[in-house]
Point group: C3
Chain length 138, copies 3
Amino acid sequence: MIARKELQIDTKGRGTYDLSADVQQLVSASGIKTGMCHIFICHTSASLMLCENADPDVMRDLETFMSRITPDGDPAYTHTAEGPDDMSAHVRSILTHSDLNLPVSGGRCALGTWQGVFLWEHRHAPHSRRVIVTVQGD
Amino acid sequence: MIARKELQIDTKGRGTYDLSADVQQLVSASGIKTGMCHIFICHTSASLMLCENADPDVMRDLETFMSRITPDGDPAYTHTAEGPDDMSAHVRSILTHSDLNLPVSGGRCALGTWQGVFLWEHRHAPHSRRVIVTVQGD
Amino acid sequence: MIARKELQIDTKGRGTYDLSADVQQLVSASGIKTGMCHIFICHTSASLMLCENADPDVMRDLETFMSRITPDGDPAYTHTAEGPDDMSAHVRSILTHSDLNLPVSGGRCALGTWQGVFLWEHRHAPHSRRVIVTVQGD
């Protein structure tokens, strides 16, 4: 059995967006009890990650980390057609994930207590992001 | 056909733990000959990776690399509730992997000669880590 | 339904190689319309990534980025048996991906407009790389 749905996430610019509730709802609606849930983002300047879901400081610190290793407007970058956050957004994306695959058990993604599914928008401007969620199993 | 098993890995603190034999044994026990093996860690301060399995120097050098780009006790980090290795552990986790998906062929994960499946514990204190292994196929 | 094929990619040394057309062709040949396409590289010094597929500057800038955070010949590295690009290749690999999982829809990988599937060879010498592509679905 396979259920697929596309989410549209309208971001307000750089930052993280918790998709956990949306994803759990799609798994629940699929009726699938045991299997896998796959999450895919169709972009190269926004990405996915599993991360600590309780303390907003974590997201601020991740931002600090990325700003340091791949700063916007780095003079070494040549791909700047869309501005100083163009290339840094691609680097941030390849360092994180375009797809996540999660076990489904008892009709829910079997996430750990502190694990949340996040979309990370790497561009400063608001963007509309497409995320494809596929649930497979019995 | 789907077979699922949870491993409990009791770590002795920061370092890498080779799960390859455990994973191959679960695949073998499942009776599945062709399909996929998915490995998932239910934590945000320990992660998974495929890496060179022969020379322990590789693991030491990976540790050197991570200690440099995201040092424990970095004064820029604000998420320090669990100590100086709290935020660095989250950064190390998002830079590596929470899930791995491996092809199963001939009743085994089709790993390359030098590929091993490793759990990377990023906290200094010993932790008990849950890893969910799902084998799917025929 | 499961279709599996192994690609052999003969690289000319460090650089990125666009596998998108090869992968799409395998999906098309499988006859599978809806499901998943999994791509796996059997090596620890070459990796996979989804990245911007239009401007070659992106690949040059990614190279610049990696050369900076994990330079060849870093004196801190001890795993140097195969030369100054041995350990840096492993670090580059763990920071990117050994496997990618893509939704298949309408008989094609549902990639975004600017998403390409790339093999990233991290060694300077030419290598022959094995990539296992698995298509599953209906």
